[in-house]
Structures are given as structure tokens and as C-alpha cells.
Symmetry: D2
Subunit: 320 residues, 4 copies
């Protein structure tokens, strides 16, 4: 039995590796405006001001940059059990964990690309106390008025040698639908955008142009409330010596208004706004882009910078 | 068997009655920037530039303003059949229709408040031709660059004498979840906001303060891409003699940045932007607002104008 | 010899009295995002990130809120001498000062309304050092990325029992032109907006509705870069318990997009954006507004809140 | 006697040559949202909605694209006489004209770069009638709600073989001050930005990289009210097949948020917003940029596209 589109509620959290834990933490708190939920010996747990869970980002000290794992929150415990049972029958299965700070038991497995993935349902919802409380009951915590004021985790972009097998496993065993995709003339898929709710994507998988690399991260994205705030984020990056790789500009694919930064540990981080775009159509037809269309550049004509195609974490030289 | 939260995909369309069909049509095309899909003897069918269906608004000539019917698109034909079967067993059932321009068969019924409602799945997806096509494949049609440039139908707000029975019928027979609600000290619910997808609401039901009125419309809302565009909409309304009832301002409930206008037929129309807010939590806990909290006014302190509590369509004097 | 329109370069600084110096300082630094230039026993000197002088705001501890003095920077030392000579011949003259932190000698006088005013030319231009430097040479200091990120002092609004005599003295002895004015049916002027450069106003004088009060401050305004940032300022005020008197909304007079706050000392502070409006016409014809026109409310219809007409600092009860 | 900084009020109008008068007119009316003031056999006169004069753009049919002339409005008739007298004594003098549609007598001359320039004072202020009137008395005409909604002429950028002699003539005989400049290591100035009021620039002169070309236009700029509207302008250009050369992005020089388009006749047109930046300091110190600094690209790192350095109108091939 294949997964249904609606089994997964949303991307839950991402564990990001960094060789510079302290500087990366400062980047996410002072520059992005995120809050620290907890700290352990090796990790710092963070959330954006309207993330409703304990954390959406776990920064873990590591010898190199990259991704530790990422997690999907499913819609119910029943779905968790069913999906775990289904994945258990595959060679990709790892097994149950007892959970982590902020969430209960999870079922872990590896995507065909090597990325460590988990699904979970039980979670600790963040309860703001004292000065952290928002004046509005429907906001998870106070608007920070600090740095870029990111609102919530938006999506993750991973790299894979073989986008096709990632895509198959995702659709059959994990869930979601493909809203947009890049296809070569011979039919090979080299990029796919998965949506699990009304957002137009929650995970993107694109081809790794560095041979033999496994399990690489392209970027993690946090959403801000307007395109103007993406522009302000660019001003803030400029003023604080944060490397701007490209942007602000508008993607042709998915229309996202983007800004790509490198955090001090070397990982790419995107600040984005999707305007009022949602994909509400339950039988949305996947949009296909050809490589030729991609060569036109971004929506307004910006040529994609070369590093955008090659930089991922870890870098090849990190692994020697 | 009760409905699940996820049976409905989204609000499909609204039929708005207007005693001034021509002027109302001009309002939605020239001021809001919508496109006409079709016209019949009594009705004009319209869509915003990124509405993916044939229409989201059907303007129908009528002796007075108000709402003809509104429609939910469900996630599949199976769900349509099941849900119709369930509703058929209630006194609210009306029965199947053969559809209308732009969509296939629908099942109609009345909400306890008297509102004519339908559910459907088969739909005609809009295919832009020629100059109506967007330069971006993932946009339903060209950004109009005319008037307020509304992007998509967002939600509807109805009035009911008894919010509680509306709410029960909605949750049990139709679908969705309540994200926010207004409750009197004695526990009576006087306002409820229903969400059927990742948006924080798709339908609001609030108490009709005019006794004995049934089946009234409070407003229909179209979304624009930014709060700045809501401000531009206010400038455009001012310049074109459109009555601004209140706003732009930010709702405390749901945080929507709003502008309320009266279209020439007398119906209230909202132009809104929700920033990057989404409700992704699958077991979101409903937020309760007391009347005392409501008395504080809108988010930034604006006092709600009296007409906002009393004006609905049709007006009592329309029915004499 | 009357003053010419172009003698004055711009509003230089405002000395604001506050009974709560520490809290007021926190408001201007943490909430507005301003920088401290200097502190003395009784005063704190502040500037917005793109104010080019040593300070534009001097907060001075005082038994009550209100305005100490305000200053115009003139275009040259020659103009300073001429203008001082001219004013010296009036009963309003006070005389030369040796200057203050941040600026050289100034000539002081009282406006007919009692407000202590000074003109000066020699000034200490702010030189950002180290981390305070902007990445862009053409910005006075680093974009703060803290709170409301106000950019520069914009204007001041004073109250007078007799707007007409204030206006005459300003035009004849000080400088500038009147861009907009409110006139009663009998011809009495009850509000006037003076511009001394391409901005549409730098000082507003409006009638004090509290009898017998002299020398009162209505508000001081700092500019932000967009209307969206005024909305963000409202969000920040809400989250930090800052009293929002009215707004955000658009003034009919001068079109300014405004937000009125009370700082902890009790003075009204406006956060504003003027979009791309400038008055470049050298023989601009003053625009007259009648009281009837004013009764329509602000641009988009917001009714002016009563306190806006009565609250000024000091308050009558402060003076007993 | 040299000119003073304040003799000129503002850039008055630009005459743009186009080989495609009809298409260029459609571009400025339908895409930019400008209004037609008058039409003659060979020319169309246009203004943006808040331009206060009869026109700021005169489109003239011509065998190739380029600039016919541009005009400065001076602050008074006295200044006009004085300045004309001074220029008359130079080899650059041409002489008095009887004016044109929309303005009275002007004095014409050639800048050392060959550009035909005029100064004038008498002007016909635009008086909106009927539906063209704005709801706000302080706006020259109705906000168009069409296309890019440009507000006012902002500045012009010309090309010269010798920037230094242009600069000398401008400062000595015409007026204004230099706010920013690009200087080679050997001291040669290759770009200069002149300001004549509180705007940070009204005319830019940059080096023509095509040898032997005279009298070329780099671009004409219209201002919109926010950076968000520059982004909307990019969306509109994309949807309407208008060539986007580069942007939206932020200039390091002058900080302008820009979008460069080619109008159908081949001339470059900029849509820009300057946020709340003004240069109010009467003794502002010119900012110098080195070529090395320029190589860093625009403010957020965008590399300048090659055509930006070479494309000007007329093009060399137009003149054969």
C-alpha cells in the first residue's frame, strides 16, 4: 500500500552539523532572530518565533558542516505506526528511537540518497513564558524585533546522486506529492519538489553535481512575512559580514522570493517568502521544467551563480 | 461516522447576489483586477489571476445583495460520494445537481443557518490561452497589473443566529477543524473560524446581530501577495470612490491584515494578506477569545466600527 | 528683509524632557533601534542609524515630559549670522550660546508660542568606528537590525494657542514655506506644515486645544524606509507593551503613513514613511484644508482619536 | 561667479527619441502607468501621476533611440536670467527658445558631452480634471492602478567621453553638488552623481565605454513608492515580455533599489525606490568610490551585467 499525500503534516526539524557551534548559534540567534530552546553538551536547539514545537533546528558540533538528520511530523500516531511498519520491510529501515529533546519516539530510516530521516508524532509544543509570550494568543512566541525575524521553518533541499530513486521512495513510503520537477530531455529527473500540505513544497531534492558524494545538504530555509523582509535580510547580511551567495531574487520554480546565505559553519541557509501562493488543488498536475528552460535563469533573468550548483555540505575536501 | 479534517481541499467558489450586476462586475474586474471566465443571462463568472479553477466568484443579478450559494471542493470523488451519503441522511439534505459552468456534479444542502452549500470534486481547471498566459508555468494566468491584483479566493464569512449548531454540522458532516473561536462567559460560541487545509481559516461563522435574519453574508475575501498591496488597495479604493468600511489594520483573531470594502451591490468584500502564517500542526489546539478580549479592538488597538457588527447582506430593509 | 525659503537646511535636533530618563532611553534604543552618542549627568544624546550629526535627540531628565528646545541647521555660517542679526531685533531674541555636545555656537530665541528654538551651522558629523560602521560608505552608521530601525529624524509637531503668529514669525524670521494648512471658515489658520527642503514638511504647528498651555509638544517623528516597516513597528509596539495611540494609517494631510506611540516619559512619538513623495516645485502653492474636510478623518477614513486633539506634553496636570 | 548649489529646483523633463513611437507610448502608459498630456505630429507628452508639471517625458519619433534634450527647472525667473547670462558667455551657449508645450521660454546650451540641455522657470502646472483628479488634494492626479504606477521623474543618467569636463561645466555654470563619484587610481573621475535638492542625485554622468560616441543616454528613471513596488514592476515586466536587463537589486552607489528595463524603442528605463534616504546636510562631503570597490558588484553582491557598461542610446550601429 502506497502512502497517501496527506499522511505527513509538515517538516518537523533539521539537525545541522557545524564545525563552529558557537558562531553558528550566534548566526541563528542574532542574525536570523531565532530563540534557543535547549542546549546539551554537543547541541543547541532553536526555533523561529512562530514555530510551534520545541525546536525546528538542532545545531550539532561536528568535524564538518552538513546534515545530521531531518524529521517529518505525521498526522497521527496511527499513521506513524503504519508508515513505520511499511518502511520496516525495506532495506532502508533503521528502527525506532526513544525520541529526543522536544519529541517522542521516532522511526528512522535512510533515504536512497543516504540521508538519515525520521518520522514522529508525539511532540512537545512550545509554551512561551513571561517575556517570551506574544501579545497575540495565536503566535507561538514574541516577534523578536532582532535581526531577520524569521517566522518558521519552511523547507529543506537535499542533494542526491540519483533523484529518481529518492523520488520513488519518498512517494511510495513516506508521502507527499511532487508539485514541480526538472526533467532532462531523456526523461531523467534531476530535481523534484515535494509538498505534504498546502505549501507548494516542503522538501526539494536536486542532483548532486559532485560525483560520489552522499547525504549532502543544499540548504535549509526559514520563512519571513514579506518580500520586503527578505530585502531587509539582505541589508542585515551585508552589514554583518554574512556571505550572500545570491539574491534577493525570485525563483522561476515555485516563485519563491529568495536570499541565500552561508552560515559560519559553511551550510547554505535561505531566507524566503512565498507571497500568497498556496497549492490547494488536491489533484494538482506536476509542472515539468526542461534544462533549456532552466538556462533562462531565475524568474526575472538572474543567472544562477555557479556555486549554487556545486556547493553542498559537507564539501569533498571536508571528508579527506 | 464523522468527517475528517482533511476531506475538504478548499473553498471552491461563492455565488454573490447583486442588484447591480454591471457595476459589481466592473468592481471585481477593474478595481480588484479579476478576469471574466464566462457570462450567462443572469450571471458573470470570475476568477483571480492565480485561481486554478474556471471561477471562484459567480455574480448573479438579484433583487438584493447577499449570497446565492458557496461550494467546497473535496479531495476525491470517493470522499464526495461518502460525504453526500452521510448528509443525505440529515434533514439538511437537498440533493445532487448536474453541476454548473466550470464544475461537475455537486451535492447540495443547507447549513443550519440556511446557507445553501455544495460539495463537488469534478472541476474544469482554467487553461490560460494567448495573452492571458503567465510567463511562469506555475501561475494560473497572467498577473493583471490592474487595480488591486488579487491573487486567489481566500475565505468566506457567514452570519448565523446560532453559531453553535452551524459549528456542529460543519465539523460532523462537512469537515475541517476550528482554529479560533469567540466564546461568551457562559460558554456560548459566537464566532468560529474553520480551517480545511494549511491556511488558518477558510470559513468564518459569526453571530448575526440582526434578529430573525437567515442566510446572510458578512464578507468574501480575496488574498493579495503582501501587506503593502493591501495598503495599495486602500489607495485604489480611495481614488475610485469605493466605500472603505474599516482598515487597513491587523486582526487580533487570525492576524490577518485586512481592508473591508463595500462592492457596488452592497456586499462587503475583504482584501487580505496573512503574511507567512500557516497552521501546520495536525492537532492544533483551538484558541478561545473572550468578549472582553474582543473589546480591546483589533491587534494594534483599532476599535471595530459599529457597521462591522450589523451590516450583512441582504439587509433587513431589502427583504420587505 | 524676510527670510528666504532655502536658508534652513533641515531640522537638526530636538531636546525631549522625560520624567523617566532610563525607560525613555531604553525605548529609543531597544524599541526604535537608535544609538547613544553621549551621556551627561542629566541627558542622553541619541541618533538614528542614518542621522549624519552627533545626535538628533537629546533626552533630558525633567520633572515632566515635554520639549526642552529644538534646532534648525542653516545652510552656512553667513546665513546664521544674518538670521541671528535679524532675530536679535525682535522681542523674541535670547542670544548666542556656545553650543552643546555635537554642535557649535547657536542663536536662541522663543517662538511666539513660547518654544525655545535655536539655529546653528557648525556641527560635529558622526564618524562611525569599528562595528558601528556601515558596509555602505553612504550610510552614516550600521543598519541596527534591532527594533523599529528608524532611519532619520523627520519632523516635529508643536502646539500653539495662536497658530497665525507662529506662522508669521516662522516665515519672516526663520525660513521655509507652508506646504499645507488647515483654515477655519473665518480664515483663522489652525494648523500649518512648514517645509525647508524637498521634504513636504519639517515642522508642523497645530492649535493647542487646552487653553492657556504654552510651549507644548505634540510629537517628534522618525522616518523608516517603507510603509511595511511602519507595520512592523506596530507589531513591535504591540509585543512590547508600548501604547499605540492610533495607526498605522495614512494621513490625508501630507499623505504620511503614520504610527503614533507614547514613549515611557509620556511624549508622543511618530514612526512614519512618506513613500516617494517630495515637494520639488519651487513655487508650490499651499494646500488649504477646511475643518469640514478634516472631519472626514484620515485618508482611508479612520476617525482621529480624541486624545490626538488633546494630548500634548507637558499635560496640564504636570504643571500643578 | 559660480553657480550655487540651490539655483536649480529639479530635473524638469526629458525628451526621449524612439524609432517606435506608438510602442514606446504604450510602454509608458500601459506598463509604467503614465498619463498622456498632449500629442503633436511627432511627439507624445507624458507625466507620472504625481508629476506636477504638464509633462516630464516627451517621446519624439526619430530614426534611432536616444535623448533629444533634457531640462532643469530653476528656482526663479531671476536665477534663469542670471544663469543664461553666464552660460551665454561660454562656447556652449545656444540661446533662448520660446518654450514648448507645457513650459515657457528656456535657455538652451550643450554640455561638453554634446547633450542638449535647457533651463526654464515658467511652467504650466498640471490641473487634473474630472476622473483624472486624485481624492487627495496634495497629489497631482489620480493613482493610476495600472501597470507599475510610477510616481514621478527621478533622475537621468547620461554618458560622456570625458566625465571631468562635464562635471566642471555642471558645477560652475549649471548648479548642484556632487554627492558620490567614481575615481580611478590616477584620479580621473569616471562617474559623478549630481544633486540639486534633498534627493541624493538628479543627474548621473558616467563614462561612455564606446569610443567616439557623443550625446548618449544611459537611462531615465521614474520613482515608485516602495521597494515592494519595484518587485511588482519586475513581475509586470516579466509578464509583458519587457526585457529586464538587471535587477531588482540595490546599488552600492546611492543605495537605490533598481530595476533596469529596455523600452520598445531601445532606451534603458529604470524603475527605482530610494527608501527614506535624503541628503539634508548642506555641506555634504562627496563620497569617492574606487574601481576596485566597484568590482565588488552591487550592494548585495550582484555582478553588474556587461551590457550595463556598453549599452547606451543611440547605439553605434544606429548611426551608420
Amino acid at each position: 500500500m502506497s502512502s497517501t499525500i496527506w499522511d505527513i503534516a509538515h517538516l518537523g526539524h533539521v539537525e545541522m552539523f557545524t564545525p563552529k557551534l558557537e558562531e553558528s548559534t550566534r548566526f541563528f540567534t542574532e542574525i536570523l532572530g531565532m530563540y534557543i530552546s535547549a542546549e546539551t553538551a554537543n547541541s543547541v536547539y532553536l526555533r523561529a518565533y512562530d514555530d510551534y514545537e520545541h525546536h525546528t533546528l538542532k545545531l550539532t558540533a561536528h568535524v564538518h558542516a552538513g546534515i545530521g538528520h531531518y524529521a517529518w511530523r505525521v498526522r497521527s500516531d496511527e499513521i506513524l505506526q503504519e508508515k513505520a511498519g511499511q518502511i520496516a520491510a525495506t532495506p532502508n529501515a533503521i528502527g525506532w528511537t526513544e525520541g529526543d529533546l522536544g519529541h517522542g519516539k521516532s522511526y528512522q530510516f535512510r533515504m536512497p540518497s543516504g540521508h538519515l530521516t525520521e518520522i514522529y508524532f508525539d511532540t512537545e509544543k512550545y509554551q512561551a513564558e513571561g517575556d517570551a509570550r506574544s501579545a497575540l494568543k495565536n503566535t507561538a512566541s514574541k516577534f523578536p524585533a532582532r535581526g531577520m525575524n524569521v517566522r518558521r521553518l519552511d523547507h529543506i533541499n537535499l542533494l542526491a546522486q540519483d533523484v529518481g530513486t529518492f523520488q520513488e521512495f519518498q512517494l511510495y513510503h513516506v508521502g507527499g506529492r511532487i508539485t514541480e520537477t526538472i526533467r532532462k530531455d531523456d526523461g531523467e529527473v534531476v530535481g523534484a519538489w515535494f509538498s505534504v500540505n498546502s505549501k507548494s513544497y516542503d522538501l526539494a531534492i536536486t542532483q548532486d553535481h559532485v560525483p560520489d558524494m552522499q547525504n549532502r545538504l543544499h540548504h535549509v530555509t526559514y520563512a519571513v512575512n514579506s518580500r520586503e523582509e527578505v530585502l531587509l535580510a539582505a541589508d542585515i547580511a551585508l552589514e554583518n559580514g554574512i556571505h550572500i551567495e545570491t539574491g534577493p531574487h525570485k525563483h522561476a520554480i515555485q516563485q519563491t522570493f529568495f536570499l541565500y546565505l552561508y552560515e559560519p559553519g559553511g551550510n547554505r541557509v535561505e531566507i524566503a517568502n512565498s507571497t500568497a501562493r498556496l497549492v490547494l488543488d488536491p489533484d494538482y498536475k506536476t509542472i515539468f521544467w526542461s534544462l533549456k528552460e532552466r538556462k533562462k535563469g531565475q524568474a526575472w533573468g538572474l543567472q544562477t551563480v555557479p556555486s549554487f550548483h556545486t556547493h553542498g555540505t559537507p564539501r569533498p575536501e571536508d571528508l579527506i
